[in-house]
């Protein structure tokens, strides 16, 4: 029971031993109008992103941008150095010998795209983040082994310590616990 004297909680964590139960309860919670929530699972769970209605990641666009940047850097670097900075006449062949620039351009395209894919994923996920309130949930260390968690956060406008707890229990959570901030 949240009274003004108790420290504000981060939210309520429901836990499950089956990923199917988790997805089902996430759907129910969405239907009940909860929006500020996140699920924590030991592996990617099929259907969970859809149940939480997560928008499609914009990472692919970033990776495309990274690839194009790498490609332009590759073409630019090789053209500028072989035409302007260090022109070398080999048997009268053209200085802009683009077919021989293909391998390096290709490698730089891949390199920059891959760096954006990894860096973008880490950055957009807000990592590294050494501490997060969800780690206060009792038994959360099993979230990286065999336990599936759903945390409805106290910032949700529909959050009410008692009602939300009752909702999660009736929906089929095996355990519901307060998460200290």
């Amino acid at each position: 029971m949240a009274t003004p004297s108790t420290p504000p909680t981060y939210g309520l964590a429901a836990s499950f031993s089956s990923p199917d139960d988790l997805v089902r309860v996430v759907r129910l919670a969405r239907a009940a109008g909860y929006r500020q929530m996140d699920a924590y699972t030991p592996m990617p769970v099929h259907g969970l992103a859809e149940a939480l209605d997560l928008p499609p990641s914009r990472l692919p666009w970033g990776v495309l941008g990274g690839g194009i940047t790498g490609m332009l850097v590759g073409i630019g670097l090789q053209s500028y150095t072989t035409i302007v900075l260090y022109p070398m006449n080999v048997g009268g062949r053209p200085l802009f010998s683009w077919p021989s620039f293909v391998p390096v351009t290709f490698e730089l395209t891949i390199l920059c795209a891959a760096l954006v894919a990894v860096g973008g994923m880490i950055w957009r996920n807000g990592l590294p983040e050494p501490h997060h309130p969800i780690f206060n949930a009792p038994g959360f260390e099993r979230a990286s082994t065999d336990r599936f968690f759903l945390c409805i956060e106290a910032t949700d406008p529909r959050f009410d310590a008692a009602a939300t707890r009752r909702f999660l229990e009736t929906a089929g959570a095996e355990e519901v616990q307060d998460v200290a901030r």
């Binding site: 499950f16 089956s18 692919p60 891949i110 095996e174």
Partner: protein, 461 residues
């Protein structure tokens, strides 16, 4: 990361022994790392590998202080063991990326138990490969001249040279392989952090895991990034050995200047790589008691990939011979005839025996299902692929266009020492890897486990 528990075909052995649960697979794989007792075989193997590593240090110190003259390279054979070993090692690396990226895109769930290990193998094999061209330069401390940077000499790399393409291909490959490997490790590092008993262990794994908490939002972006990386690594792995083959094919040496080299090198790389995965996996799954996770199914599938790529390589040999005859080119014809009957003929026929003959045993289901027979075949392929590069490098170079420029080649003790030394680097790195990091991707194996039943009881209507 498909959910394959429900879709396995009853006629084949399963990819995961029945009865596995999330907790049991986690316990099994993380236990190898978190266990406080180091097995005796590990200490013995490490001692041997560490000794070989010392051989590397001695050989390299002597090489750097004296010069590449201590190796057997003499004009006209300027490449020798260094380049043979470079191509051999980098070829081995290719299986890792194939397993982790290409099989992921093809949704082959059996890759899951072996991808982490194969990726580590890639990383260490590429490191061993990278040593050779740098040492072969003679003045390895000037290796940074390869990098395009403004310098006081006003010099820039020759971007029309395949040797510069190689620098970009290999460094990109090493970087992307390391990223792919680390990204795959993050969720497992979080598992180790949560299960570690010691404070220091928890701190080290905690830092490496970046605070991963398994959030659905994170997984969502993670899976996107992982798939994109796989999509990027797939053309990359093909490009790397293509560029390596350009080192040969772009030249005008008979036997090298052929258009079949890129596909034939890529197939050879995958062939050699799978042979090395089998060579390492067969003893390790036994020693670490991982037969439930790395099942006969995995070995069978790897054997099939080996057979298929081996046949592509055999096609390459056949086409080399055919084109040498069919082109009517005098020098090509001489090169091939010299290869088959000249001073290096025993090497050539041994290579054909190892790469084209012995692996035909893999047509027999009994051989594919027997780990130790597979191990034997794989050892032949490891050796055969090394001989293949020896034949390519040496037989084309030792008979130049003019008989006055002919020569003979053999490696010296220091060639052997450097090669054994890189086996030491590889062995030490692999052994440390299986001891301190999860050698099987725990979170991906969890996706193969049959889901536990729902505990929810439907109440009323």
């Amino acid at each position: 990361m498909t959910n394959a528990a429900a879709t396995h075909d009853e006629s084949r052995p399963p990819v995961l022994a029945p009865g596995a649960t999330y907790a049991s697979v986690t316990e099994k794989i993380s236990g190898l790392v978190l266990s406080r007792t180091t097995p005796r075989w590990w200490i013995l193997a490490f001692a041997v590998a560490f000794l070989a590593l010392q051989v590397f240090l001695v050989a390299t110190a002597y090489l750097v202080t004296t010069g590449t003259g201590i190796w057997g390279i003499r004009i006209p054979i300027g490449w020798g063991w260094a380049i043979i070993n470079f191509v051999w090692w980098i070829g081995i690396g290719h299986a890792g990326t194939l397993i982790s990226a290409i099989l992921l895109l093809f949704r082959q769930d059996w890759r899951t138990s072996i991808n982490r290990f194969a990726e580590a193998m890639t990383l260490f094999a590429v490191s061993c490969a990278g040593v050779f061209p740098i040492l072969h330069m003679g003045r390895p401390w000037l290796a940074y001249w390869f990098a395009p940077y403004p310098n006081s000499m006003s010099l820039w790399p020759q971007f029309r040279s395949p040797l510069i393409w190689d620098v970009f291909a290999v460094t990109t490959y090493a970087t992307v392989s390391a990223l792919f490997w680390y990204i795959g490790l993050i969720p497992d590092l979080a598992t180790l952090r949560d299960r570690a008993l010691g404070r220091a262990t928890r701190l080290i794994f905690g830092v490496m895991a970046l605070g991963w908490r398994g959030s659905a939002k994170h997984w969502h972006r993670y899976e996107t990034a992982y798939l994109l990386l796989a999509g990027l690594a797939t053309p990359l792995v093909v490009s790397v050995h293509t560029v390596v083959s350009f080192d040969f094919a772009v030249s005008i040496i008979p036997g090298w200047h052929t258009t079949i080299f890129p596909p034939y090198f890529v197939a050879g790389a995958i062939y050699a790589g799978f042979a090395m995965v089998i060579t390492l996996m067969v003893p390790l799954r036994r020693l670490l008691k991982l037969e439930d996770l790395i099942t006969v199914r995995h070995l069978q599938n790897m054997a099939k990939v080996m057979l298929a790529t081996g046949l592509v390589v055999v096609y390459g040999y056949a086409m080399e011979a055919f084109m040498a005859w069919y082109s009517g080119n005098e020098y090509e014809g001489f090169m091939l005839w010299n290869r088959m009957t000249g001073p290096y003929a025993p090497y050539y026929w041994t290579l054909l025996f190892c790469n084209a003959g012995v692996p035909q045993l893999l047509w027999l289901a009994k051989v594919r299902a027997s780990p130790w027979l597979l191990f034997g075949v794989a050892m032949f392929v490891n050796w055969g692929m090394w001989l293949e590069r020896y034949i390519i490098v040496v037989t084309s170079l030792h008979r130049d266009y003019l008989p006055s420029a002919w020569g003979m080649y053999s490696g010296t003790l220091w060639d052997v020492a450097t090669f054994v030394g890189t086996l030491g680097i590889f062995g030490v790195a692999m052994l440390l890897f299986v001891r301190v990091l999860p050698m099987i991707s725990i979170f991906e194996v969890r996706t193969l486990v049959r889901k536990p039943p729902s505990t929810h009881r439907v109440q009323g209507g």
